[in-house]
Symmetry: C4
Subunit: 301 residues, 4 copies
């Protein structure tokens, strides 16, 4: 009885030990200290290893005995990732924000498949979702110039998103109509692969994106003529997302170049920069256009 109450007390103490929390936080979330850096490198090594394990296992090239070793390694890595996940939740002041962030969900999904594997068979292949955890690799590169590049890419895609969304909506309508028309033309041929509308839509997507597997191909003259028309439409249409992203990047590129330090007049500052990197003067914020609403920049990765 006493023992239990003491355990509870320790648990309470553990839950509110701010010093320990601070220490774990600096290891798990930061990468500026030597320990934090080491942890990050070990973590990325483990993730790469666990992804490789999943790939190796699927190749069926090892003798049966080796699979035991693979499984044990997998369990050990999962244990490590579970512990890491709990540590992350523990040391944050607002764990909920982390749990429902992109990385929080990926971190959870990275451990679940093994536990699910006890119940459902084959689900451990889902472990490959761990690959997404590799995005954390950029944290280590943060010191270098990569993060700035990545942000420009993400910002451009983010700004282009509504345009690309509309574009895909049109493509979807086009592909559905074209697929149905091809089903009507080609589907009557005996033994044709255009045997239902979903297959025809699949064919239309394969054609419009210029992938062109050749598993489903038109045989009739009219079908071939219509295919040629669809290809030429796809050829023009491929220009649209490229044009959208190019135009956005040109515009973003220019904004970044134009932003000058008010004191020393030098440009080339990072988008997030608040102070001039040459003389330390405060930079003015760029006016963002209407489309960009608040972006959660504080999301950790």
């Amino acid at each position: 009885m006493k023992c239990i109450s003491r355990l509870r007390q320790r648990w309470q103490h553990f839950l509110h030990d701010d010093e320990l929390k601070q220490k774990i936080y600096s290891i798990v979330f930061e990468s500026d200290t030597p320990k934090g850096k080491l942890f990050d490198i070990v973590l990325i090594g483990s993730i790469t290893l666990s992804v490789l394990l999943v790939i190796l296992e699927s190749m069926h090239i090892f003798p049966h005995s080796a699979y035991l070793v693979l499984r044990v390694l997998e369990y050990l890595l999962t244990l490590f990732f579970t512990f890491e996940y709990l540590a992350r939740i523990y040391c944050l002041k607002e764990p909920r924000k982390y749990i429902f962030s992109f990385f929080g969900i990926v971190d959870l999904l990275a451990t679940l498949p093994v536990y699910l594997g006890f119940v459902f068979h084959d689900s451990h292949y889902l472990l490959v979702i761990r690959a997404f955890r590799l995005i954390r690799v950029f944290r280590i590169f943060k010191l270098f110039l990569f993060i700035n590049e990545g942000n420009l890419l993400l910002r451009s895609l983010w700004i282009s998103a509504p345009k690309i969304f509309i574009f895909f909506f049109f493509v979807l309508i086009l592909v559905t109509s074209m697929g149905t028309v091809m089903y009507m033309i080609e589907g009557t041929q005996p033994g044709s692969d255009f045997n239902n509308i979903p297959n025809s839509i699949y064919w239309a997507i394969v054609t419009m994106t210029t992938v062109g597997y050749g598993d489903i191909t038109p045989e009739t003259p009219l079908g071939r003529f219509l295919s040629a028309v669809i290809m030429l439409i796809g050829y023009t249409i491929i220009a649209v997302p490229t044009g959208i992203v190019s135009a956005t990047m040109v515009s973003e590129h220019k904004k970044q170049e134009k932003r000058k330090c008010p004191r020393c007049q030098r440009d080339g500052h990072d988008f997030e920069a608040m102070y001039c990197k040459y003389c330390g003067a405060k930079l003015r914020r760029e006016k963002t256009d209407g489309q960009i609403h608040e972006r959660r920049n504080d999301e950790r990765f």
Copy 2:
């Protein structure tokens, strides 16, 4: 006799009942009122459902009895769309303008196939043209920022159209010549798929657009060499429509950004905007370049 004359009177009254017309107009064409919004949502739901019905029917996965249900649903939806089409014509002052507009034709084509289906078999697959009616979905999104994006896309494509038209004319000439030359080289092989010029032109289009099904492939060394040349030409030529659209978008993007309110100097206004969205001052119209003739902006959708 009296009964008929009263009916005719009511019909006359109905045809000129401006109040009713106004009421129907606000439901069918507008989407700002609660009723109009509800109507739009029901309409888009019906369209999606009717497209799904056509796709499901083609899959031949249901028992025979289920097809009766599918057909009844299709007839009900067609009845609703026919009624809607008549309502649209009824409530407009100039119905001819609507009937011959893009959406008027699509709306008519969306109901016809079922009626044609009584006469011709299989024509009810044409119902998939209803998918184009989904473009109306943007009316509901009008309140959001999508419509502005869509307009920029359409404007860019519209301005690029003459350049792309010329480009395709050259491609057509090239593809015809290349197809014929390949027919001369490969067509002499026994069992070759280059067995006539239209098939060779089809192959040339499949190759130049980089789709590359592989249903028709060159076998002779000379044919392969020429194919490689055609591919490299296609590789360069794919850059042209992309370049056209990119250049237009960069230019349109800049124009939109440059357009400042003469009173408050803020930019980022929609292309159609006539008043500053921040202070309400009248905006100056952009000088459009020579290529853009009058565009019918009043077309409803």
Copy 3:
């Protein structure tokens, strides 16, 4: 004797009949007069017809007797084109310039195959080169805005040419090396399609241009890995010609937009324009950058 000398006299007279030359010139080369326009329309109709004849003949769908009709039509059209070619040479002051221009050579090649067909079999398929004569169709459109668009396209491609030439040189080197390495890896497999280096280079081009027929595919794990690398290189490299053409077009677009009339300050003038189309004031010529040497603008088409 007398008869011959009179014929020679008439011939001499005919060769120097400037009035007749002027008349023919206005019909054959100009398209502003009603007769010139009619001639152009007849010419383009004949060209289209003759291309269609070649295509139809290859399809082997007509009864044997119909081929006689096709042949007679072909001979008649060839006679017309020969006469037209001679008329063009006759009415020019410097016929040599026309004979060795792009259109002069195409016009000659458009008639030769039929005459060659008396000697060599099957050469009449070369008649399809007549398709290139269709470029003349733009002469009729000259009155509209198309010609200006075509010039911007051609100028952009012309300026981009040296960059694209260098780019292709690198691609050729890459494709040769990759093809040979794949021959070393895959060629040892029995029954492999990588059976010699030219075939491997053909495969490398098919892969890098993202055509991907699938007639030659890697089978070994190492071969597949290397293929994936080549694809990803091709994926990046496809961006280069697009980037070149886009950058050039953006730059050309801007130049054209910037060119303002010095009197009325309006812009949007054609590149070749020498006078303002709004007020008739003389426009300043754009300074062209170093790369564009003299372009032969006087070439007729």
Copy 4:
């Protein structure tokens, strides 16, 4: 004994004969003198010939006796290249810099395979690496305008490199995940080609780059649906590298155009130019943005 010491003396003299070094240098490295130009043309001819020999040998179309001729030619060319390589090292003051430069390594690799061929079989196919030596062809073109174009291309790619690197990292993660999921969906089908994860990843790369061989294709409805999603993602994603390179080129293009001579105000100068090519005034250096670190411009080729 005396003979040896005299040989050593001559060797010492040879090693320090600055006049001879200068003479050889002007022939081997420079291409402005007639001798240097001749040497370059002979060299490029030899390289082209040796690459053609390797390709011809793989085609197995010659009688057995012809291979002896091919081999002798190959040995002669290798001897010439070995001699040239030694001459290059001999005449430089800092040979180490050349040996470890890109061209130094290529020059070495161009001779090694033949010598390795005495030990290992088939390694002489590696001779195709000589193709890379053809890049030297630009030295002869140096007098023309090509070199400037090539530099703009390389600079644009160099600046885009970090962005493209990040982009490929994301693509790799995406392709690994997608490949594994497809293995889980399609791999259970008997006789499926998705028989292990590396093959599935290969398929995902073939699909995302829009190559689409068709050697591995999805068969199940769910697999086809997911493939369609992957294709549409690939379709959008293909826009990103194009956007990056386009934006960089537009920006570089503009920088080059903006750089004006401070005395005569003319623009269009080469990037490397230090003096105005029209009036000889010293040009100001462009401020390069942070990403471009020192580039070794002195690397010879």
